[in-house]
């Protein structure tokens, strides 16, 4: 029986603020799962803490709402124990790039085959609007007592530097484009990172929906002028085609330079993709040949309540 979009929705009451950018992300995620026809019980959404952390409760697949900053650790453990599962991790920018930044970097180095989506809005919404890691230095969103004293993290740049093999940015009000990006990310073989610009209508009065739409710019020039544009509409080619160091370095550099674009023109789409780097599951398979056919979650460990692992060789070697 083919699954419909409605099958991926739960009836849990959604308590996000009206107009919240998070809605677009959840819709896009549900649409992507439906379009790919991923069985509901073969996917797990792991989430962090904060408004975005509630995402897993709104999606009718396995859902694991974890701890602040730790979503990637839970997600990687689940995926490595049961590599057949589709795993998507989600969380806010404070969750992933503040308290969880260490895990973000380490996850990039592992390249476990899964997707990580950051709901990037520049504020800690659920604790009433403090500055989060992507808010620019000197900016003062409405609940800040004084302008932000920290420089901002560049999520795309950090992902590239950490070894993520798919790095992209979406915009939560362009749901169709975001859905397409999620599908690409999930299908990517390796760790995919998706930075989703997601206006917080309650606490971020700077990077608003109107701001992204370029309403202020339109007042200066005559035409309407969205800040957001798509990399795929330009000549930009994010894909590493050959296992060649020079090409890889060029692709990494152009992605990094692109990630610095902000202000009047904000790129979305895929910044970098490299499927030539081995995934962590393949690295494990190199050590454990039947790891993929017989992963931890599928292994039989007992028969009639007794262990079936044979350690007699180990014990023989200890015999005196």
């Amino acid at each position: 029986m083919a699954l419909k979009l409605a099958d991926y929705k739960t009836d849990v009451h959604n308590d996000w603020c009206p107009g919240c950018g998070d809605f677009g992300i959840v819709n896009a995620l549900q649409m992507a799962l439906a379009e790919m026809g991923i069985e509901r019980d073969k996917a797990t959404i792991f989430s962090g803490i904060g408004c975005s952390g509630k995402t897993s409760h709104f999606i009718n697949t396995y859902g694991v709402h974890t701890l602040h900053g730790r979503v990637l650790t839970f997600a990687q453990g689940g995926k490595l124990a049961n590599p057949e599962m589709t795993v998507v991790a989600v969380g806010g920018d404070g969750d992933g790039l503040g308290i969880g930044a260490g895990h973000f970097v380490a996850a990039g180095r592992r390249n476990v085959d899964m997707t990580y989506i950051i709901f990037d809005n520049g504020v800690y919404g659920l604790t009433k609007g403090q500055a989060s890691p992507t808010l620019k230095l000197g900016e003062q969103t409405k609940s800040l007592p004084s302008p932000n004293t920290n420089y901002d993290v560049n999520p795309i740049g950090l992902a590239i530097a950490s070894g993520f093999t798919f790095v992209a940015r979406g915009y939560s009000y362009d749901v169709k484009h975001l859905k397409d990006l999620i599908i690409k990310a999930v299908k990517h073989k390796g760790l995919a990172f998706l930075d989703v610009l997601q206006p917080c209508p309650t606490y971020n009065d700077i990077n608003t929906r109107d701001w992204y739409a370029g309403v202020d710019l339109a007042q200066e020039s005559i035409e309407r002028h969205s800040r957001i544009y798509k990399l795929e509409d330009t000549q930009f080619d994010p894909l590493v085609h050959y296992d060649d160091e020079i090409e890889v370095n060029e692709k990494l550099s152009q992605a990094l330079i692109k990630s610095l674009e902000w202000g009047t023109k904000i790129p979305t789409g895929v910044f970098y993709q490299n499927e030539l780097i081995s995934t962590y599951t393949i690295r494990l398979k190199d050590k454990i040949p039947n790891y993929l056919e017989n992963p931890p979650a599928k292994q039989k460990i007992s028969e009639d309540g007794f262990p079936i692992t044979d350690v007699s060789k180990i014990l023989d070697s200890l015999q005196v």
């Binding site: 849990v12 509901r40 019980d41 797990t44 792991f46 803490i49 509630k54 897993s56 409760h57 009718n60 396995y62 859902g63 694991v64 709402h65 974890t66 701890l67 730790r70 990637l72 650790t73 839970f74 997600a75 990687q76 453990g77 689940g78 490595l80 124990a81 049961n82 057949e84 599962m85 260490g102 895990h103 970097v105 380490a106 494990l284 050590k287 454990i288 039947n290 790891y291 056919e293 017989n294 992963p295 931890p296 979650a297 292994q299 039989k300 460990i301 007992s302 028969e303 309540g305 007794f306 262990p307 079936i308 692992t309 044979d310 350690v311 180990i314 014990l315 200890l318 015999q319 005196v320």
Partner: protein, 604 residues
């Protein structure tokens, strides 16, 4: 050779250069501990002599490098000033110079036989005999020379020595050959020395005996119990276990294809426990191994596993705290911390093993407790156990059972992960199982696992989870909760690695006609109040023995049994207890000469 041994490594938190030593006690009977006195000390540097000369008993011997006789304490740069000051004061009081000769004179006056051997000359002679001038400078072989001299002195047949060298250098036959030459030469050299009155010429071999290092119990226990996922961050003294699991990652399975353990080194302990929980949610038996500081980082996630009823096993190899403390030394400082780890009220089990052999079977139990009661289990181990090398009965894998509790293989109909049931335990699905969809959250939740702040549901969920503590006490058999080695008017209560030295001390006392009881408490949380009470019904004087400052088990005991501890025997030098010092303190207690707190100090 047939002997039973108890060996223990001591080392500094440093890669090389600082003082390390190994003590091995040998017997034809089963032994469980070290004693204070050393019968034969094989030294090959000056520091060993300065630090240990006074541990050698009056009928014992010291093998030392005669080239070191004039070395004074100032030359040995690794002697810290605190120790030097103490040693100098002592030497002054004895009117001796601050040299190797000075300390050896004291030993000699006590009756110790000295065996001066020029290690340099041994190498020179060996080089000449073997016509291999390279041997002359191979001071790396001093340890083989020292060991061989000592085995020659105690007349232990040399074949086991030569076999050991072959095993150690099995991949480097040429190096093995050179070492065997040095071993033979030194072994024979010893026969020309003054006769040593102690000898070890062999005894009847006990069948089914194995030689194990400290972490083998939990490592092999995890393999047998079906732990297939272990994530960890390097920390002393816990990482040996993870290393062992990775070295043996491919597993032989009866009548089936090979199995494997995925061992993942993470970026920190927070990630280690996060990954382990993620893996456990897929139905995989999952674990981590850590020590105090790493465990501290895990506490938030332990609470998550508690509220989400995830079975996980944390093997906690304690060392001396607080903070980094004495990072390579022993301590049982983390009992109260383990019992109280995590924010909020949630059920967990804290279980303690007393020796390496026990830890093998206990590892199996811990995984069963985790699965059956669906909660985090903290398995208490420590540095004393991890750095021991002992002989014990061959582990019997079929004495481990595997009980996965209410883990589901298939789901029919509507599924609620946290369904209210009669015994408080809900059938458990796993990530990826057909029709078994569930949600988890660190928030309070409803039966499906969705966030709920309803006050009535909150009470029901708290009651459901917390009731598992009573259930655990009801279902875990008494003999797994605590082990009684007899109860008398004086009875010891203790936990963990103090077991070995206590048993040996008690048999020393028994020979003198003194009976003291001993209750080894294994299930520390939830505390087996009724069972322990019943065991102690005829006891008048309770003695608590622990390797920490504050008598942590004593506090838990008092809180549950509502009885004061009469005497504490405590040690927090970072060095393990010996049976001698426990014997001494117990004897003082029986003779009414003891302080309420007996603080033990033996060991360099």
């Amino acid at each position: 050779m047939g002997y039973q041994i108890f060996g223990k490594r001591e080392f500094y938190s440093n890669i090389k250069g600082e003082h390390s030593y190994f003590t091995v006690r040998v017997s034809d009977q089963k032994i469980h501990s070290n004693v204070n006195d050393v019968t034969l000390m094989a030294s090959f540097d000056a520091e060993t002599i300065f630090r240990h000369f006074d541990e050698v008993s009056s009928d014992g011997g010291i093998i030392y490098d005669s080239e070191l006789e004039n070395v004074d304490t100032e030359i040995v740069r690794t002697l810290d000033s605190t120790f030097k000051e103490r040693l100098h004061k002592y030497l002054e009081s004895k009117n001796k110079p601050f040299t190797i000769s000075g300390v050896l004179e004291i030993a000699k006056e006590k009756g110790v036989t000295l065996y001066p051997v020029s290690f340099k000359k041994i190498l020179e002679n060996l080089a000449q005999e073997a016509d291999n001038p390279k041997l002359r400078g191979l001071i790396r072989m001093y340890n083989v020379i020292g060991v061989s001299l000592s085995l020659g002195l105690i007349k232990m047949p040399s074949d086991s020595l030569l076999n050991s060298i072959d095993t150690i250098f099995s991949k480097k036959p040429q190096i093995a050959e050179i070492n065997k030459q040095a071993a033979n030469y030194s072994y024979n050299y010893a026969s020309k020395l003054e006769n040593f009155e102690h000898s070890l010429t062999g005894t009847t071999k006990q069948p089914y005996t194995i030689l194990v290092q400290g972490h083998y119990g939990t490592s092999i226990g995890k393999i047998v119990a079906g732990c297939r996922f272990q994530s960890y961050y390097p920390i002393t003294p816990a990482s040996d276990e993870s290393n062992y699991l990775e070295s043996n990652e491919i597993l032989q399975i009866q009548d089936d294809r090979p199995g494997s353990t995925a061992v993942i080194q993470t970026e920190d302990e927070i990630s280690a426990i996060g990954m382990m929980i993620g893996a456990a949610l897929t139905g995989t038996r999952s674990s981590t191994s850590t020590s105090g500081p790493g465990f501290a980082l895990m506490t938030e996630a332990i609470g998550w596993a508690g509220i989400n009823e995830v079975p996980i096993v944390i093997t906690l190899y304690q060392r001396s705290g607080p903070s980094t403390g004495l990072p390579t030394r022993h301590g049982q400082d983390d009992l109260l911390f383990a019992v109280n780890a995590g924010a909020g009220d949630f059920p967990k089990i804290v279980y303690a093993s007393g020796d390496i052999e026990e830890s093998f079977y206990d590892t199996g139990r811990c995984f069963n407790y985790a699965d059956v009661f669906q909660l985090p289990v903290i398995h208490m181990m420590d540095k004393f156990l991890s750095s021991s090398v002992v002989t014990c009965k061959r582990f019997e894998p079929n004495k481990i059972t595997i009980d996965r509790g209410k883990l589901l293989d298939k789901v029919e109909g509507e599924y609620k992960r946290f369904a209210f049931t009669d015994d408080g335990i809900s059938p458990r699905s796993r990530l990826g199982l057909d029709n078994g969809i569930f949600w988890n959250t660190g928030d309070e939740s409803d039966e499906y696992g969705h966030i709920s702040e309803d006050p009535v549901e909150r009470i029901m969920m708290m009651d459901k989870r917390m009731s598992k503590l009573d259930l655990a006490l009801e279902r875990i058999p008494d003999e797994e909760q605590a082990v009684s080695f007899g109860a008398h008017e004086h009875t010891i209560v203790s936990w963990g690695s103090t077991k070995g030295p206590i048993i040996d001390a008690l048999s020393m006392l028994k020979k003198e006609g003194i009976d003291i009881g001993f209750i080894q408490i294994k299930l520390i949380h939830p505390f087996p109040t009724d069972y322990v009470k019943s065991l102690l019904k005829d006891t008048k004087i309770i003695i608590d023995i622990e390797a920490n400052y504050s008598g942590q088990l004593g506090q838990i005991f008092k809180q549950n049994i509502l009885k004061d501890i009469d005497y504490f025997i405590l040690k927090y030098t970072g060095r393990g207890m010996t049976s001698t010092e426990i014997y001494d303190s117990l004897k003082k207690i029986v003779e009414n000469k003891a302080d309420k707190r007996e603080v033990l100090t033996h060991g360099a």
